[in-house]
Amino acid sequence: MSDHGKPQTEAPNPDTDAYAHESELESHLQTKRMVINMGPSHPATHGTVRLKVELEGETIVKIDPEIGFLHRGFQKSCENVTWTQCLPYTDRLNYLSSMMNNFGFLNAVEKLIGLEIPERAQYIRVIGSELHRLQDHLTCVGATGLEMGGFAPFLFAMEFRELIHDRVAELTGARLTTSFGRVGGINRDLPEGWIPKVHKSLDRGLELIDEMDALLTRNRIFVDRTKGTGVINAEDAIDFGYTGPALRACGVNYDIRKAKPYWVYDRFDFKVPVGEHGDNYDRYLVRLEEMRQSVLILRQAMDTIPAGPIIVDDWRIALPPKPEVYGTIEGVMSHFKLVMEGIQVPAGEVYDATEASNGELGWYIVSDGGGRPYKVHVRAPGFPVLAAVPHIIEGKMLADLIPTFDTINMIGGEVEQ
């Protein structure tokens, strides 16, 4: 019998055949699914979160975000202190936009009391909020650049953030957790000569934003890794409850500052940037443009800020001025009652939302008429955004997870309360 005509069954000669070892190599390849734990504290995820990733090769088959590592009982703590004492807790929900959390909570409380705050206080709240919006977006954009391999944009972002930190420290005395708001207004007035300093910082900041823009927006590596990854369409985003830059990147124009203006936002001229594709690149671009709009709002607010009181003149709500406390019995009594018993908020309930840096920050507050909140519910913008990560990323590559996680900007403190 001859073997002629069936050469396939012949054993390959390893000296002449380049593919001789192929079957041998393949037999060693792992085809099992692999479970990888990313986190709780991972260099490529913002915040403390554990991702249980099930991989098939490089493709993510299943992902299960596990949160709660930072949980410290925000609601329970708030229910056991006076209304004013809740403020430090709200700061710590998101320390990069602590003033926005502060003022959002106060806005809800003031709505429940039925209080109109003085105009100057409203302007200062807008200024503080926009400064913190800049800070939050800078951290997000800078870190996105860093995790895509660019260190310089991160340094530019940090330089601008540092300038804002300095201005915030001059204003409030603290860099991160400011506790600046009070029911009925704010804690203290703008310091002497502060506005020109902020103008100067913003000039430098715009240069830094332009540098970041020039380094990242048309960078080949950055564009390739962010464009078309982490895509969510508008319908799904709405279904999941996206708000803020993540929703606007899908092409939905919803910004509470325009939809239901609060404080004095309706007096300023600014645009709301809207994306198109809902991918990581659009979320980055929306944030970048929003920073420029924030600078515009800040400049207008600082140019037109009126003189006047910064807190309501009502001793049942705001602490009396110190000469009154030291000099009169009424002052002492109001001060004592406010500190010991807290502001007596009439019984009722309210849901109020403001536009924080990552979206709609909603507060549902129930009061039983006493000096302490009966129930404080916070609708953190990061929570639905993180809840949608499995939907976005399943079936995509492991490498896409990192830019997606960067640009949705999940904030551990507010997600985990």
């Binding site: 949160i67 709660g68 949980h71 009982g73 609601q75 329970k76 056991n80 709505k111 429940l112 039925g114 799904d236 709405i238 279904d239 999941f240 409850g241 708000t243 939905v252 919803y254 939809a259 239901k260 009439p346 009722g348 309930e349 309210v350 849901y351 109020d352 939302a353 709609e360 909603g362 549902y364 129930v366 039983d368 009966y374 129930k375 519910h377 609708r379 929570f383 639905p384 993180l386 809840a387 949608a388 939907h391 985990e416 309360q417």
Partner: protein, 172 residues
């Protein structure tokens, strides 16, 4: 709210406007999915943007008969309006139908409410604790859970089927 009352009169138990002007509808628990579907799909309402879910424990309030109130917040981009729904459930059977098939965003919020208040959502695909660990006893946001209550530390969970790499394991 008028449209909901007109369309589904048997679903709405109570309606009122709170002091700040927010309109509320109190819904019977079993007709919640119907009302939510109507709010979402009606072409004139389109309450599609999912807000949040939470519960209130009314133990220390005056009207505390059904102990829990589950509250829902939806938003309509078309009408620029929030809608607030409320479902009252008793302590003995704290069960509410789940909205996860209607709004995917409801999934985590329902888990959060279950985690803190122990309210069960009927039809939820994956109802387990979200912020606290599985061995946690009780529901910490209920008013009868003491502020300073402590839970024992739990031992490390055994991990099955884990490859720890060559390392030094096995070498004594």
């Amino acid at each position: 709210m008028d449209r909901v009352s007109a369309q589904l009169p048997e679903a709405v138990a109570d309606r009122y406007v709170d002091r700040t002007g927010g309109a509320w509808a109190v819904i019977h628990a079993d007709s919640l999915p119907k009302v939510a579907a109507f709010l979402k799909n009606d072409p004139e309402l389109e309450f599609k943007l999912f807000g949040s879910i939470d519960a209130v424990d009314r133990l220390h309030l005056a009207e505390c008969d059904p102990r829990f109130e589950v509250v829902y917040f939806l938003y309509s981009l078309k009408r620029n309006e929030h809608v607030r729904l409320k479902v009252r459930v008793s302590e003995s059977t704290p069960v509410v139908p789940s909205l996860t098939s209607l709004f995917r965003g409801a999934n985590w919020w329902e888990r959060l409410t279950f985690d803190f208040y122990g309210i069960r959502f009927d039809g939820h695909p994956d109802l387990r604790r979200i912020l606290l660990y599985e061995e946690f006893q009780g529901y910490p946001l209920r008013k009868d859970y003491a502020l300073r209550d402590r839970q024992p530390l739990i031992p490390e969970r055994p991990i099955k089927d884990i490859f720890r790499g060559p390392g030094t394991s096995g070498i004594s």
